[in-house]
Symmetry: C2
Subunit: 207 residues, 2 copies
């Protein structure tokens, strides 16, 4: 770049104050339209992540249902309540999805700030994608845990003598199913976010 200072000719070294006419402005370090497009998709996916995790948590939390059930030894049916925190699996689901929801708010705001001022985009992307990977592990495991327990609620398990409960608590189980489906969407949004970040990091190589 600045090879002009190193010229060995003593005459050429003299006019130091003369502006160098052939020195062009360097190209912008990060291709602005392309990176901006990718970052817009990033913000959109983080918005989807926020919406899906929030809906999953709300649907799970509002799944409470009270039904009259027959209890052995009591001659009349008694009201029994089904709620998400009766099972540690659903409590874990709510905690994990709440963490992912909070994370999506923080990273969506950070991503918007990078769109408005794209200076630190590479380091932001790198920082985001590491946490996105951890969040994917969290959301995927929470979805699996809740799904596994909800499946026993739906079908029961004759080998372990676990009876199904969804024929009694129908609204509760509909809420569970909807919540798990939406959290699966959140996991896919995280997978897309990670793939997008990797492509953004990769596209910087030839520049």
């Amino acid at each position: 770049m600045s090879t002009e200072e190193k010229i060995a000719d003593p005459e050429a070294a003299k006019p130091a104050e003369v502006p160098l006419p052939k020195k062009e402005a360097p190209p912008p370090p990060s291709g602005p339209p392309d990176t901006a497009n990718l970052l817009t998709v990033d913000v959109a996916l983080r918005g989807l992540l926020f919406a899906s995790t929030l809906i999953a948590v709300l649907v799970m939390v509002t799944s409470k249902q009270t039904e009259e059930v027959a209890v052995l030894g009591i001659p009349f049916p008694v009201p029994a309540e089904a709620k998400f925190n009766n099972s540690p699996a659903f409590t874990y689901f709510v905690v994990a999805l709440s963490v992912a929801c909070l994370y999506s708010i923080i990273t969506a705001l950070a991503s918007i700030s990078v769109v408005l001022k794209p200076v630190y985009s590479a380091s932001f992307l790198l920082f985001f994608v590491l946490w996105d990977v951890v969040m994917l592990g969290l959301v995927a495991s929470a979805t699996g845990t809740a799904g596994g327990v909800a499946y026993i609620g739906l079908k029961g398990n004759s080998h372990a003598n676990w009876g199904k409960v969804c024929h009694v608590y129908d609204k509760f189980c509909r809420h569970l199913a909807a919540s798990i489906a939406v959290s699966l969407l959140a996991a896919f949004a995280l997978i897309l976010l990670i793939i997008l970040s990797i492509f953004s990091l990769h596209k910087k190589i030839p520049q």
Copy 2:
């Protein structure tokens, strides 16, 4: 670097055939020791992934246990068998971990071939990391599913009237716990693999 060619002195420009003694060989485009180190860690982590998924599958498959249990209506205890495919959650676990095990063999061999011939390393890394992300989702959800169901086996759930089974099938539950713990290790290996690939892609930017 090669500023000698641009010298403005007309005498210096004359001997074009004379070899330039100060011209050094350019640095290799991809820092070989650094990239080779990262790829060696990559191969080691894929080996860990292979070992952990294989152990998890083997321990889960060999968890069969037969115990004499009392059945309502039958005056004497009858033998009852506990095995992983009594529950769809554990079947899913075995299938998902088997897929991850097969994947780890293929990618470990591909990674070794990149170490021996590091030409396509960037595109290989990009291809690997996309599938690593999908595998992480698969392994994390399988671990969650099996963990959620195994926890009911251990503690039961009084609200749903699901009794615990681990006080009877102790060997079966020990196998389940070990298998789930090892699959958690596989999930961590995948997280480390993804982070390593991202750093490898990122480190290429300044080169």
